[in-house]
């Protein structure tokens, strides 16, 4: 492979391997609003084939002064039908980089690296699974839900956000899961409050044996603590500011306890999916955690 001269819209079989991340220039199949978020679909057959729920891709964005890629959880992959070989991401469009992405058009070509990171481990037995998503963290949860349902699992979904507009794809959640429960801070949809307020009821009804989560770190902390208290295993897709996504920059670390010792592990390679019971949530210092503390100080 002669590297930098990747033709437009094609994926190289990087390094001749069948697994691991690729870097490719991928054609945009479409960008469209999806509720209050954006959905972007890429033509990326080799990445779609390798991808697992919980993994992510990074995209180069052409915004003034930005030199780093933007990471996105994979929301879906299609390997059959008219959209075969495509991969979808969902994002807010609020930041400079995602605003630029929202402005892309069909046939534009994006510089993509992926699939990256450790996805959600799937249970060996067909146990009932509870999937909890915050905001657009719903997207990888629905990808996982479809995967688990296809494997014969009962899946129950809880999605939460500040307001109804910030919950992604309630329709798909209701369609794919045995039950879908929504919570909003302002009560504009579902149960007023946070996702942790409804977990006891849902788990009792569903006979939950395993818990998965994706969303802001404070939410993941709450869900992990609840799962630990219930004696349930939990797997959480964490988010932390990352520069490279490939394991070389050491910026996206999350404190994890192993054998009584605390270690900082890289969210991009050892994660983003981590055992919720092992993460030392009290030591996590992400901006979202700091914001939650500020909110609570302010009452």
């Amino acid at each position: 492979m002669s590297s930098n001269v990747t033709p437009r819209g094609s994926e190289p079989k990087a390094h001749g391997r069948e697994e691991g991340p690729l870097r490719a220039h991928c054609e945009v199949l479409g960008v469209k609003p999806s509720g209050s978020f954006w959905s972007l679909t890429l033509v990326a057959p080799a990445m779609a084939e390798r991808a697992r729920p919980g993994q992510f891709i990074t995209l180069a964005v052409d915004v003034g002064g930005a030199t780093l890629r933007r990471p996105f959880s994979i929301a879906s992959v299609s390997q059959q039908g008219p959209r075969a070989g495509t991969l979808e991401i969902v994002f807010s469009g609020v930041g400079q980089g995602t605003h630029w992405l929202a402005g892309r058009s069909k046939h534009d070509v994006l510089d993509v690296v992926g699939p990256l990171g450790r996805g959600f481990p799937l249970p060996n037995r067909q146990v009932p699974a509870l999937l909890v998503g915050g905001g657009y963290g719903a997207a990888p949860m629905l990808y996982l839900a479809r995967t688990l349902v296809a494997r014969g699992h009962r899946v129950d979904i809880v999605l939460g956000a500040r307001t109804a507009e910030q919950i992604w794809n309630t329709v798909e959640a209701k369609r794919v899961a045995s039950s879908a429960t929504f919570t909003t801070d302002d009560g504009s949809l579902g149960t007023p409050g946070r996702v942790t307020d409804v977990l006891d009821d849902v788990a009792a009804r569903a006979g939950t044996e395993v818990v998965y989560g994706c969303g802001p770190m404070p939410m993941l902390a709450g869900v992990s603590r609840w799962a630990a208290a219930m004696g349930l295993p939990s797997q959480m897709a964490v988010e932390e500011a990352m520069a490279c996504g490939t394991g070389v920059c050491m910026t996206c670390v999350v404190p994890v306890r192993r054998k009584g010792e605390r270690r900082n592990v890289r969210a991009c390679v050892e994660g983003p999916v981590l055992n919720g019971a092992r993460v030392d949530w009290d030591a996590v210092r992400s901006p979202a955690m700091a914001q939650r503390e500020l909110d609570e100080e302010a009452g």
């Binding site: 492979m1 002669s2 590297s3 930098n4 990087a14 390094h15 001749g16 391997r17 069948e18 691991g20 991340p21 690729l22 870097r23 180069a60 003034g64 002064g65 930005a66 030199t67 780093l68 890629r69 510089d111 690296v113 932390e240 500011a241 990352m242 520069a243 490279c244 490939t246 394991g247 070389v248 920059c249 050491m250 910026t251 996206c252 670390v253 999350v254 605390r262 270690r263 900082n264 390679v269 030591a283 996590v284 210092r285 992400s286 901006p287 700091a290 914001q291 500020l294």
Partner: protein, 332 residues
């Protein structure tokens, strides 16, 4: 992970058997001398931006680079600073990692064997907070095979000097470099901070103490504050600025040191992202050029500038990259 059997062989450096219509790529001698050792080409990695080498080897055969400079290692494992450790800034980023690493024993047991097995030229980066740290690390490496050169990252705080960075003053620079260069037979490169009044004086001190060359530049110390919360954006409060924003500072530092000490080998680094950035560094006086933060934005960045440099030289009929070194044309 990767298997060597699945590896795509590197294309030949120069084609002599191409068809009549294909423009034969002229031979370009990319080899450079770095304080007594020869690199096959001048493109290396900046410490702390390339992991152990294995992470990026998923994307291409990193053995094609001139050398891999490993992440700085310390005597004991370090967990580093709390997050956030990174904030993107205009034209670059700030980082405050706190030298998280598994320590020298783990590096020798886990990372060096992989580099050796693959035949990848390895430059070890050593970091410490006392002169004794540097001496102990160097002694541990004395009889270790498979190390091409050592980089002494003396842009670390010296706890015996009220936390002032070794490379901010000449005497601590001499002491730290002597502790490494006096112990090892392989070339020692002193990695210097640009946050000084006269970097040529520090480079001269490093050379007096036995450094075979210098790595220019480490990150610049910077800071960013969230305007709403008033909190520093980095867990470590201040951090190192890297990326294209600092390239002119790096070119200036390389130029100044090369003018002052023309025969001192220099590894130029700081915001190098494109082929012409590499050319600029070499014209300023760099013997080799390290790509750092660019690898975060593009895992192929090192290989792309290597191939770009070969083509750039070939297009201009320059047969040896070494001939380009220090070819800045000053006025007057």
């Amino acid at each position: 992970m990767t298997t060597s059997s699945a590896r795509t062989p590197a294309p030949p450096a120069a084609s002599t058997a191409s068809g009549p219509s294909a423009a034969a790529e002229p031979d370009v001698d990319l080899s450079v001398d770095l304080g007594g050792v020869t690199l096959a080409n001048p493109i290396v990695t900046a410490s702390g931006t390339f992991g152990s080498g294995r992470e990026i080897d998923q994307f291409f055969d990193v053995g094609r680079l001139g050398a891999v400079v490993a992440k700085s290692i310390t005597r004991e494992p370090r967990q580093g600073l709390p997050t956030p450790r990174m904030v993107e800034t205009s034209g670059g980023m700030l980082n405050a990692i706190g030298l998280q690493n598994s320590g020298i024993e783990a590096w020798l047991a886990e990372d060096l064997p992989w580099l050796r097995e693959r035949g990848i030229p390895a430059i070890v980066s050593l970091a410490g907070n006392t002169v004794d740290d540097f001496r102990v690390l160097a002694e541990r490496l004395r009889d270790v095979e498979g190390i091409l050169a050592v980089e002494a990252n003396i842009s670390c705080p010296n706890v015996e000097d009220r936390g002032m960075v070794f490379a901010c003053r000449t005497d601590p620079t001499r002491e730290a470099v002597r502790a490494v260069a006096g112990t090892l037979s392989v070339p020692v490169l002193a990695k210097l901070t640009p946050d000084v009044t006269d970097i040529t004086a520090i480079a001269a001190a490093a050379r007096e103490a036995g450094a075979s060359g210098v790595s220019l530049i480490n990150t610049l110390l910077g800071m960013a504050i969230d305007p709403e919360t008033g909190r520093p954006r980095l867990g470590g409060v201040t951090g190192g600025l890297s990326g294209p924003a600092i390239k002119p500072v790096a070119v200036r530092a390389v130029h100044q040191v090369h003018q002052a000490l023309p025969d001192l080998p220099i590894v130029g680094m700081g915001g190098v992202t494109t082929t012409t950035d590499v050319v600029e560094m070499i014209r300023a006086g760099a013997s080799a050029v390290a790509v750092g933060t660019a690898t975060f934005g593009n895992p192929m960045a090192t290989l792309e500038v290597l191939e770009g440099l070969r083509a750039w030289l070939a297009e201009r009929g320059i047969e040896r990259v070494a001939d380009l070194r220090g070819t800045v044309r000053l006025p007057g």
